[in-house]
């Protein structure tokens, strides 16, 4: 059509001065009337518009040529695919800015859009003025590295003010959301800044917030555990105020964590078994109750950051960050309880519980189980139970699933919990009271080390909440992160019992800095771990939430394997190694089935040294 030609001719696709003229927009809406109006509005703005009434078609178009479009506008309600799902997919696969469009301007829906990664949320009917400013999202994406998500959020908030149109409320809400994100992000960024000025100086602890850690894990996974060099990771992460040193030390910790997880997994299994008997209360609580509690808790706190939890947002959201952590913890505890057969899982979980590092493991296990669904986290929690169809974990799955959800949350918590931070979680989140009560008792037991897993479960329950809160308030996390980092180190060294006790008492988040730190560190680890595992999980579904991957991949990968390794506890260790190695594999083979991944993972790669480039790895 002439119009098209004119528009496209004028623009040239977002080049320098021409921009935003000619920006290529893909509009998706099942309502032909709206679509037509939208198309014309966009043409008025001199964008180059392509329209489709089907999400599937849109995806196909996008996949065919990722560079074909600059921006996607999508309706929320569509018959063939949920708008949010499309949003996630696009964000994950193509990393294009996506704007949601809907007649529904309820806070929840808008929140959902934001958490799924939408750049913006417009209310129908869309005004021309609103569309005139959407190009900013493209610019923002291009100029700002992903690390500045928070900044973007903050900026968006500002932009939101500038926008007029009927979607004021919408904007306000999103702005608010963004503000929160921005604040959270800013804090973490600030912390990072303060902490890591230059590589040359002795950097104060960098706050490895959940977001940050997630990115880290994603980068590591992307590079492959064996190839993950701090420099490359740093580049991939694309975050400011982080030096190579920070990354290096974090990587070191991460590796240690993974290693520990594998080792602990086997050890944990034993402990868990032992504990399982001891804490029937926990077990019971853990599996279902915990989840339930967490779920509820999480429901509240959907992680603000764009958690691409396609499916169980709550879970995923929670799981992504904390889930990785929590899952591990939960997984371990649960398996024990649920089915001893799944000792391997349990062990891994236990390990997680016991070892802060193990926490990561657990997620892996769960991830393995859950691997089926794309929702990395969701899978994890669900996956744990779901994923290994082959695995004996299945019985666990059902329970695990619930736990997983919790674990995820708890995993993050588990980290902390292990550190004794379990109380943290309650603080963080609104840990259910039941948890708290359960946890304190558990915590103490955990402190003893064996019960960690259990405690974690318990804690996880709490944690789950915190976890969610984690995501929601990166600030908290960041603070925790700092604390945790230091704590983590100490915790890792098995000061868990202590931590727990401390934490157990004050379930308030604020109460224990240690726990926070532990949490952060745990989270970081769990994230990585979870990322690993997550990728596994995600593999099944195309919409593998990126976040989940990042967070859980590291740990998740390992855990997945673990989960699979029903047969061997030792396998866990291997798994970790494998996980590390496998995570990269997993990532590659995401499209594959978990089995494949497991196979990969199980492949005895004792070549741990190879995994970690930095060579910090010490085979345990």
């Amino acid at each position: 059509m002439t119009v098209e030609k004119r528009v496209s001719g004028a623009g040239g696709g977002g080049g320098g001065d021409q921009f935003p003229v000619g920006m290529r927009v893909l509009a998706v809406d099942d309502d032909p009337t709206c679509l037509k109006v939208l198309e014309n509005l966009l043409r008025r703005c001199q964008y180059h518009v392509t329209t489709t009434g089907q999400a599937a078609t849109a995806l196909k178009m996008l996949r065919e040529n990722k560079d074909q479009f600059d921006l996607v506008i999508s309706d929320v309600h569509m018959p063939d695919m949920d708008g949010f799902k499309l949003l996630e997919l696009v964000g994950l696969e193509m990393d294009l800015p996506v704007i949601m469009l809907s007649a529904n301007g309820e806070t929840q829906t808008v929140m959902k859009g934001i958490t799924h990664g939408a750049c913006d949320y417009l209310l129908k009917p869309v005004r021309l003025e609103q569309l005139k400013t959407i190009w900013q999202h493209v610019i923002r994406r291009n100029t700002k590295p992903r690390g500045s998500d928070n900044d973007d959020a903050g900026q968006k908030a500002q932009n939101g003010e500038g926008e007029n149109g009927g979607a004021n409320r919408n904007k306000r809400q999103s702005r608010r959301d963004r503000d929160e994100n921005g604040d959270d992000g800013d804090d973490s960024d600030d912390n990072s800044n303060e902490n890591g000025d230059s590589s040359s100086q002795k950097k104060p602890r960098v706050v490895w917030s959940v977001e940050l850690h997630r990115k880290f894990v994603a980068a590591v996974n992307q590079l492959g555990i064996d190839k993950a060099v701090p420099k490359k990771i740093l580049d991939l992460m694309n975050v400011e105020n982080i030096t190579r040193e920070n990354v290096a030390s974090h990587l070191q910790k991460y590796r240690l964590y993974l290693k520990r997880m594998s080792m602990d997994a086997s050890r944990q299994a034993n402990l868990v078994a032992a504990l399982g008997g001891r804490n029937p209360a926990y077990s019971n609580m853990n599996s279902l109750d915990v989840f339930r509690h967490y779920n509820n808790a999480y429901g509240r706190y959907r992680p603000v950051p764009t958690s691409t939890h396609s499916q169980s947002n709550n879970f995923l959201a929670r799981m992504n960050t904390p889930s990785a952590y929590g899952m591990h913890g939960l997984l371990s505890s649960q398996p024990l309880q649920l089915s001893h057969a799944q000792n391997t899982m349990g062990t891994s979980l236990n390990d997680l519980g016991v070892n802060n590092g193990n926490l990561i493991r657990a997620p892996h296990m769960s991830t393995m189980v859950t691997g089926t669904s794309g929702n990395s986290f969701a899978n994890i929690s669900n996956g744990v139970s779901l994923a290994p169809a082959n695995r004996s974990v299945q019985p666990l799955e059902s329970s695990n699933r619930q736990h997983l959800g919790r674990i995820n949350s708890s995993s993050t918590d588990s980290f902390s919990s292990f550190a004794g931070e379990s109380p943290h979680f309650p603080d963080l989140g609104r840990s259910s009271n039941t948890w708290q009560s359960a946890v304190p008792s558990n915590i103490q037991e955990l402190g003893q080390n064996g019960s960690m897993s259990q405690a974690t479960l318990q804690v996880n329950g709490h944690r789950m909440e915190p976890v969610s809160s984690f995501t929601t308030s990166s600030n908290q996390i960041t603070s925790l992160g700092n604390e945790m980092q230091s704590q983590a180190a100490s915790l890792a060294s098995s000061t868990l019992p202590m931590v727990f006790n401390q934490d157990a008492a004050p379930f308030t988040f604020t109460s224990s800095t240690n726990s926070r730190e532990a949490l952060n560190s745990n989270l970081a680890f769990s994230n990585s771990g979870i990322n690993n595992s997550l990728p596994n999980l995600r593999i099944d579904s195309s919409a593998v939430p990126r976040q989940a991957l990042d967070g859980g991949n590291a740990g998740g990968g390992a855990s997945l394997q673990d989960g699979r390794i029903d047969q061997h506890t030792t396998g866990n260790q291997l798994n970790y190694t494998n996980d590390l190695m496998g995570t990269s594999r997993l990532q590659r083979g995401l499209s594959g089935s978990l089995d494949d991944i497991v196979v990969d993972m199980f492949r005895p790669d004792n070549d741990n040294g190879g995994l970690f480039i930095d060579g910090d790895w010490q085979l345990v």
């Binding site: 059509m1 004119r6 309502d31 009337t33 709206c34 109006v37 509005l41 008025r44 529904n104 009917p125």
Partner: protein, 152 residues
Amino acid sequence: MEYANLRRQAASLKRSLFDQGYLDEQFCQVEDLQDEASPNFAEEVVSLFFKDSARLVSNIEQAMEKYPGDFNRWDAHMQQLKGSCFSIGASKMNNECTLFRNSCGEENAEGCRRSFQKVKREHAILRQKLESYFQLLRQAGPARTATRSGGK
């Protein structure tokens, strides 16, 4: 002359539609989008709207028959219709849709049915009015922009 007259008629019809609340600002936007490149844009959109909304209306009707208690389903369908109404500024119809959705929320089947009847009625009225409006415009000739400004 003839054209001017027709244009005036169209304008006043449009004004009345606005005054009576059948149409709102959004419709102006839609008309604004009309230009040399898409001279019949408004009409196209409106006819598209009616075609699509007729389909949606019958969907809702079917849903109400087949799934008597399934308010969520009804609501989902109505949401779609509402979105369409939004797009062209069919404000009265939109209101009725909202009422329908409220009734769905309250799980008030009878209320839903009543609202739905109203929705259908508004739909028919609007269609009729807009059809005559566009007919006038077509008769009035291509100088539609003039009528538009007059109509506001």
